[in-house]
Symmetry: C2
Subunit: 135 residues, 2 copies
Amino acid sequence: MPYTRDQLVEQLRRHDINPTHQRIEIAFALYSRGEHLSADQVLAIVNDRHSETSKATVYNTLNLFLEKKLIREVIVDPNKVFYDPNTEPHHHFYNVDTGELADIDAAGVEVHGLPPLPDGMVTEGVDIIVRVRSR
Amino acid sequence: MPYTRDQLVEQLRRHDINPTHQRIEIAFALYSRGEHLSADQVLAIVNDRHSETSKATVYNTLNLFLEKKLIREVIVDPNKVFYDPNTEPHHHFYNVDTGELADIDAAGVEVHGLPPLPDGMVTEGVDIIVRVRSR
DNA sequence: GTCACGATTAGACTCAGTCCAGATCATGGT
DNA sequence: ACCATGATCTGGACTGAGTCTAATCGTGAC
Ligand SMILES: [Mn+2]
Ligand SMILES: [Mn+2]
Ligand SMILES: [Zn+2]
Ligand SMILES: [Zn+2]
């Protein structure tokens, strides 16, 4: 979890991403906290001290990271996408009251009884979202 | 599946919804096809022959139906919500190439190994989305 | 007929996300 | 050092889903 910027530079390179200042900061925002962040939140974090990254670059970069599979997206809120630095197969708790997202390790989770795929289809992944309320 | 408008009027009443002309037509669009439709698609279907329902009413009505649990929403495409006339517990195949959604009956599907909920939390539901590609 | 009240409406508005054309930056060759 | 080149970044215009508002409509009670 305690990622240094140097480690992130390596990780960007391993994913064929030219490690520019902005890209390093955006990766750092996501990886150093290990949280699920919206584009808005990333923009705010990266520009917290002094403005140094534009909205366009944040979106460009998040989409580049997605493409290069450095992060994944989580679609659970109809209003915004969450970006997830955890690319291991895993699932999510989603608190419908607070909007909080929490990871569920996929190891140990099994799904039985799914019907066979239509012919000529191949599974890309199985996402499980456990919607929870605060009681 | 072959819903008559009269049956839908009854169903609306059972859910405490005053069955107006527009509401009946919107319910008919969803229930007669049994498909997952976006608000845009509902608007187009309802106004196919002659314009009779506004965008505002389509959104008002879909949100009313949701509130009264006549339909549910499926969040899987970052660009739009799908509205689902099937309110039984069930899961979905999502074709990431075509955008198609298909139901998976929940009967027979079991999930094992989920961690216990954080204290004071209660499960609202478990959604499984099987993302598939066309091969 | 008039009143009240719920439903519908056009159109302005919001907000996430994209697009574009110009500026800036990094790199390598001379 | 100097320039050329391509990649990156940027402000700001733009798009499209969804919401809001204030005016109008429809219906039933009186
Ligand atoms: Mn800095
Ligand atoms: Mn009609
Ligand atoms: Zn996650
Ligand atoms: Zn469904």
